[in-house]
């Protein structure tokens, strides 16, 4: 039933249950997936509010934009590969190929770890160059936003580790399919967030 139909139902004159037993026999989407989408809504609100704070703060005269670090392009590439590998795992799960799932997950995880390591390297480099968090509000926003993104990815890696362990133990692809899909959605989402953050860094 469409949203509009649902919200315009005249529930006070319609009684009984659906005549078609297949209708609403089970929810159309898995609970986990709906939960993840709602969660992504909350995180979107979080990042959007941080970015709007960033935008407001930019307007003040003491804002000195940060020079972008070359390694960030490389890190972005790592995250893209990680996301692609996760998608590979999803496709393999749909085709019920357990090996593909394992390989995709392994690659996705490794590249995500590599991305985090790369981000830490950039941090260390920036600190070495004297770009401390207190030096300028632009730096402060850069550190806070990358830390927040990294923490979300780390949280994702916890879910990833559990999925990976199960994919390793279980021999039935069907059991891990949903978890793999959820990981992939989260990965693509965090890739999207990173691209937006990186773009904001580049254009300011």
């Amino acid at each position: 039933m469409g949203l509009f139909q649902q919200l315009t139902e005249k529930s006070w004159i319609e009684e009984g249950v659906e005549a078609d037993p297949r209708e609403r026999a089970a929810p159309a989407h898995a609970n986990g997936k709906v939960g993840l989408w709602v969660f992504l809504g909350t995180i979107s609100s979080l990042f959007m509010l941080f970015l709007s704070a960033n935008y407001v703060r930019m307007g003040y005269p003491d804002w000195k934009p940060m020079s972008e670090h070359g390694l960030l392009w490389f890190n972005t590439g790592l995250l893209v590969v990680s996301s692609l590998a996760m998608q590979w795992a999803v496709t393999a799960a749909r085709r019920r190929k357990l090996n593909g799932v394992r390989n995709g997950l392994a690659l996705g995880g490794i590249f995500a770890f590599a991305f985090l390591a790369g981000q830490l390297l950039v941090w260390r480099d920036l600190v070495d160059q004297g770009h401390y968090i207190t030096t300028n509000p632009a730096n402060a926003f850069y550190y806070v936003l990358t830390a927040l993104h990294g923490l979300h990815l780390s949280g994702g890696l916890v879910a990833w580790a559990r999925t990976f362990a199960r994919a390793w133990r279980d021999h039935n692809v069907f059991d891990v399919r949903l978890s793999v899909e959820l990981c992939a959605i989260y990965w693509h989402y965090l890739l999207g967030v990173w691209i937006v953050l990186f773009a904001v860094l580049l254009i300011t």
Binding site: S11, G16, V17, R24, N31, T42, I43, S45, R57, W63
Partner: protein, 598 residues
């Protein structure tokens, strides 16, 4: 479309939906302490919220003692006074009202009312409570650190919040911000459960428009909270950085005790925007569940279907949406662009439309109803009156030109206490009297209940009505003492003392209420499974209080909306939602449900 009669529909076999496996507790600890059962979590949430709420209540007495009898109590100095008002505000708004409505009522009633065995993510739900508890403990810990809790006012405006002139600017403010961040993390976990359970966990036949308004109110409020709390989170994190690491997100260049601090260039106004982007939806996070619950209380106790159900749902959605574009009406005096003020005044007044619609519908539900003046009904009626009173002063304050002189006076204090303090609390009390029989299996004592109601209701008016007048006189809020002024007459002090005395009396009646809760648990009259003869699913459970899994062997099937009261021709004056049409003698309904589209 084929002509389908009700009879055909009655004989449709229940769909064979495989139920998800329910978590079962194996020991006392997993059953009552680290429980994953939403009902136990609800009670844990409620008890914690009430406990910290009592702290908030005592704090309000202490600050009223100072305002009513300045300089009489030597243990209340200016620093303590500011700490009392700050902690009172934050505790009542966030740790009591939000936690009780969503964590307490949400957890207990969403699964029961939608016909589910439990929340969809029970483990996450359990984590939600424990993180909330840690947040409360961190908050309480701030009373015991050096310098005490923060005294920055509940809005925590920088820069004064983290400057040394403000009480609790060392440990207190840090613990406050950490506690808020924890609360938000914990709430998000619970909130995911409430939303997804409403979307996914409904039993067969329970369409969105057959949900009781209680569920709708909590559902929309949770969505608001999931989108608005991140603003507070962002503000808290950035302020923690300013405090601990010396960044300048919010801190401008400033001199403290003759010394130039290393801060520079930050924007205190930015924090205000973030805070109120959370703060205004927060009003509705508290109000929308109250709206929903009170609709159900009125309908049940007036034995009449709610007037304009669809409008009530749409109004909840509209209020929820609008609540995100009014936040700067809290900032009219912050020096923002006048055109901003015009915009936010307009949106603020527009919110009055769906809100007034709800009030009309409550009144029209009562009209020609069979009104039973039970305790829940008394509280519901008191809510309508109080909410209208508090709402109308909101229209005053929503206008920039009226707000500017009244801003930061007692008028504002009176307004928001009426509209988001007293009004939601009345609903909380009403719903406790309403659902206590289901939760415990016993009725609350009526005599103590009547005492509690009349003292609370009349007492709240004795406290907050005169406060509006003090505001008109120009008595400022937040002041430790006003001393002598040209414009405030001496009689204002007498009125203030009267308010203080009333505060103590109303506070005492809450103690009676708490005593009633405990006393009735052991000595209350045994309750019928459905003492108010209500239609919603939580009253139709095989056990009272509902057992693990809520509904025994088979989940209920829902055939009708939640408001079939006094249906002409029906045997009883209510038809439970899970009563099949074939068992209802006498039909008022003519149109059967659409059989199938296409």
């Amino acid at each position: 479309m084929a002509d389908v009669t009700n009879r055909d529909i009655d004989y449709v076999a229940p769909a064979e939906v495989e139920e998800e496996e329910l978590y079962h507790a194996h020991s006392w600890i997993t059953k009552y302490v680290f429980s994953q059962d939403a009902k136990v979590i609800a009670i844990q949430y409620s008890l914690t919220a009430i406990a910290i709420g009592l702290v908030g209540l005592v704090l309000s007495w202490l600050m009223r003692l100072q305002l009513g009898f300045p300089d009489y109590f030597s243990f209340i100095d200016a620093e303590h006074y500011y700490q009392f008002i700050t902690m009172h505000g934050m505790i009542m708004v966030v740790y009591l009202l939000t936690a009780l409505f969503l964590g307490g009522f949400g957890n207990y009633f969403i699964p029961l009312m939608v016909g589910a065995r439990d929340m969809v993510f029970p483990y996450v739900n359990m984590l939600s409570f424990w993180i909330y508890l840690i947040a409360v403990l961190v908050l309480v810990a701030s009373f015991f650190v050096e310098g005490g809790p923060t005294g920055a006012g509940w809005t925590l405006y920088p820069p004064q919040t983290i400057l040394s002139g403000t009480p609790g600017s060392d440990g207190g403010i840090v613990l406050m911000l950490v506690s808020l961040a924890l609360f938000i993390v914990g709430f998000t976990m619970g909130g995911l459960n409430y939303v997804v359970t409403v979307l996914q966990g409904r039993t067969r036949g329970m369409t969105m428009m057959r949900l009781p308004l209680t569920v709708w109110g909590i559902f929309i409020a949770t969505i608001l909270a999931l989108l608005a709390f991140p603003a507070l989170f962002v503000g808290a994190i950035m302020m923690l950085f300013d405090k601990l690491l010396g960044t300048s997100f919010f801190m401008p260049a400033i001199v403290e005790l003759g010394e130039q601090l290393s801060y520079g260039g930050g924007s205190p106004l930015l924090f205000q925007h973030l805070f109120w982007f959370f703060g205004h939806p927060e009003v509705y996070i508290v109000a929308l569940p109250a709206f929903g619950i009170v609709s159900d209380l009125i309908s049940v106790h007036a034995r009449k279907n709610i007037f304009g159900y669809r409008m009530m749902v749409w109004a909840l959605v509209a209020i929820g949406g609008l609540s995100f574009i009014v936040w700067a009406h809290h900032m009219y005096v912050s020096g923002m662009n006048p055109y901003f003020g015009f915009f936010f005044a307009t949106t603020t007044l527009i919110i009055a439309i769906p809100t007034a619609l709800k009030v009309y519908n409550w009144v029209l539900t009562l009209w020609q109803g069979d009104i039973h003046l039970t305790l829940p009904m008394l509280f519901a009626l008191a809510f309508i009156v109080t909410f209208v009173n508090g709402g109308i002063t909101g229209l005053f304050l929503g206008n920039v030109v009226v707000d500017v002189p009244l801003s930061d006076t007692m008028f504002v204090v009176a307004h928001f206490h009426m509209v988001m303090g007293v009004a939601p609390l009345l609903v909380i009390f009403g719903s406790i009297y309403h659902w206590y029989p289901k939760i415990t299996g016993r009725m609350l004592n009526e005599g103590m209940g009547q005492f509690h109601f009349w003292v609370t209701f009349l007492g709240a008016y004795a406290i907050f009505f005169p406060m509006h007048y003090l505001g008109f006189l120009g008595v400022p809020r937040r002041y430790y003492e006003i001393g002598e002024t040209m414009f405030v007459p001496d009689s204002a002090q007498t009125l203030s003392a009267f308010i203080t005395v009333m505060t103590l009396i109303v506070g005492f009646s809450q103690v009676v209420f708490l005593f009633n809760l405990v006393w009735s648990l052991f000595h209350g009259e045994k309750a019928d499974p459905n003492p108010w003869r209500a239609t919603t699913l939580e009253w139709q459970t095989p056990e009272t209080p509902p057992g693990h899994g809520n509904f025994g062997k088979a989940l209920p099937i829902v055939y009708r909306w939640a408001y079939d009261y006094s249906v002409p021709g029906a045997k009883e004056d209510f038809i439970p939602q899970n009563m099949p049409p074939s068992k209802v003698s006498g039909k008022k309904k003519t149109k059967p449900r659409r059989a199938k589209r296409k």
